[in-house]
Amino acid sequence: MGDILIQSKNLKKYFFDTGGWLSKQKNIVKAVDNVDLEIVQHETLALVGESGCGKSTLARLLINLLQPTDGEVLYKGENIFNLRAEAANQFKKQVQFIFQDPYACLNPRMKVIDIIGEPLTTHKLAVGKNKEIRVEQLMNLVGLRQEFMNRYPHQFSGGQRQRIGIARALALNPELLICDEPVSALDVSIQSQILNLLKDLQAQFGLTYFFISHNLSVVRYMADRVCVMFLGKVVELGNCEEIFEQPLHPYTSFLMNAAPVPNPKLRNRARLLLEGEVPSPMNPPPGCRFHTRCPYVQEICRVEEPKLADYGGRKCACHFSLT
């Protein structure tokens, strides 16, 4: 393993929801709860997990879009939440983000050329004709027709918008790319094109990816390591191959099991589906957070919270990991 590029320590993000008008009721959403994570240079760390478990929140914390409730994020050893101007600028140049929602992150009043070109102009890398050329290049890379340069975001289809976002994130040749479901809106062909592109870039420039996805086949294809989150907590972390072959945490195995298979003949295969009450981050159950749905639940799970323990290079937080 190489050097640690970015690292989170005891990272917490709680959302305090004051409720409505004059209402005293307060909800605390523990979106990210005590997460320690390391991303090593040149690797792809994939993050999977139930939707709403805090993946986007974690990603946003890593890029200093949200102020953490507690904990710190170290980028190349420096806490990103109190970088000085020059370093902050450098950080913003080296770390890029692909948003989960492709449309909301595009200014509806800007043309595509300006959107993709914005990081270039911001960091004074290209202007005028140069910018145009670079934007064309980027658009070609992500499979967008360069003639659409002068269109506005709303004139594109969902997948095309997603690609605009990707092109923008690639514009600066970042070191670390945080991708929040970058390919979910793309058809398989474009998806493989983008995935290939990301892989090529990694091979060529040694990029590091933090890759959030629900599509396990994509994760399997992309990731070196996989991190599984459940309700704000990391429940399993390990080598991609191993996790797919032999999940340790029951939740992980459910995930693997639930993935759809592109073969209609297998549609009636026996599948384990999660039962039981869906736990909520507003009111997480005591003990193991997964216990309400876990088929292997024991008494201890209801009371004691399992620690993230080491299983020969892999980590898992379960009292009875499936070894």
């Binding site: 008008w21 004059l22 449309y103 509806p108």
Partner: protein
């Protein structure tokens, strides 16, 4: 929320001090001496000097200001030079009238402005749109002293439906409210229109339509609230301008209100009265803007209330 209101009110105190200081300084910069103004043309300078001394106008300005603030803190806003009555009484009598007038005008401008804006969106670039745009602009580009006179001529003099002026029943309120609220209605209508058109392009409007809401329902239930932020802001601004800008309306319709008092006060350099009336409107404007800021939270949950 309650905390927020209290904080805002406390933080308004410096503004009030600022306003009074501003008036104080301005009135001392402006040429013209209140005593000279009070006096008959053939009064000799000795008398003037004597009266000035009696009114403490010969003291240094900061002492005068300090005295004013000190007295004001004790609820004493002084006695009007011109009207000889305590400022507080004068304002207390005049204020309800202005408030009633401004409220009526506001209600008029909302009741007319918002629907007009909506209608001109529904029928964009149609005769109705042009009609509302025309009337809105008529309200903005017609001097109040004209529109007042014209309404009086038509509705009071020719048709005899409404009283010419006065302020003792609800009928009397109609014309002044229209005159004062017309321009505001125009602005509201135009702003509602543009803001609505802006919002109509959003995806959630499509979602609402997909639910089967009619175009009108979509407009009212989904677009309006989203588009209301600038409109509410402007409404709050208009509260200010209606309270302070009602002079001409009050004059034309013989309404004994604050606006007239304030303009008279500045013309006669009646410092205590001017201070008092502006302080009054300032408080109202602050409250109006506070209301608007609170409306923001209500209108858009994304605005963080901190």
């Amino acid at each position: 929320m309650v905390l927020f209101i209290i904080k805002r009110i406390i933080s308004s105190i410096p503004i009030l001090l600022g306003v009074t200081l501003l008036i104080f300084i301005l009135l001392h910069i402006v040429p013209g001496d209140p005593v000279t103004l009070m006096m008959n043309d053939h009064v000799d300078p000795d008398t003037i000097a004597r009266v000035r001394a009696q009114m403490h106008l010969d003291e240094p300005i900061y002492i005068q200001y300090f005295n004013f603030v000190w007295d004001a803190l004790h609820g004493d806003f002084g006695v009007s030079y011109k009207m000889n009555r305590p400022v507080a009484t004068l304002l207390w009598d005049a204020f309800p009238n202005t408030l009633v007038l401004a409220t009526a005008a506001m209600v008029f401008s909302w009741v007319v402005g918002v629907p007009a804006g909506i209608l001109s969106v529904v029928k964009k670039y149609s005769v109705i749109d042009y009609f509302f745009m025309g009337s809105a602009l008529l309200g903005v580009s017609m001097p109040v002293f004209w529109s007042g006179l014209l309404l009086q001529y038509i509705f009071a003099f020719t048709l005899g439906w409404l009283p010419v002026s006065g302020f003792d029943n609800i009928l009397c309120l109609i014309m002044p409210a229209v005159v004062l609220g017309w321009g505001a209605a125009g602005t509201i209508a135009r702003l509602t229109r543009s803001s609505l058109l802006e919002v109509m392009g959003n995806d959630y409007i499509r979602t609402a339509r997909a639910k089967g809401l009619s175009a009108i329902a979509v407009l009212f239930n989904h677009a309006l609230k989203n588009s209301f932020l600038p409109v509410v802001t402007v409404m709050a601004i208009q509260v200010a301008s209606m309270l302070s800008g009602s002079v001409i309306t009050e004059t034309i319709f013989s309404i004994p209100g604050i606006g007239r008092i304030a303009v008279n006060a500045i013309q006669t350099r009646d410092l205590p009265l001017l201070q008092g009336s502006i302080l009054f409107t300032t408080i109202l404007v602050i409250l109006g803007n506070l209301a608007a800021d609170m409306m923001y939270f209500f209108l858009d949950p994304r605005i963080k209330n901190k």
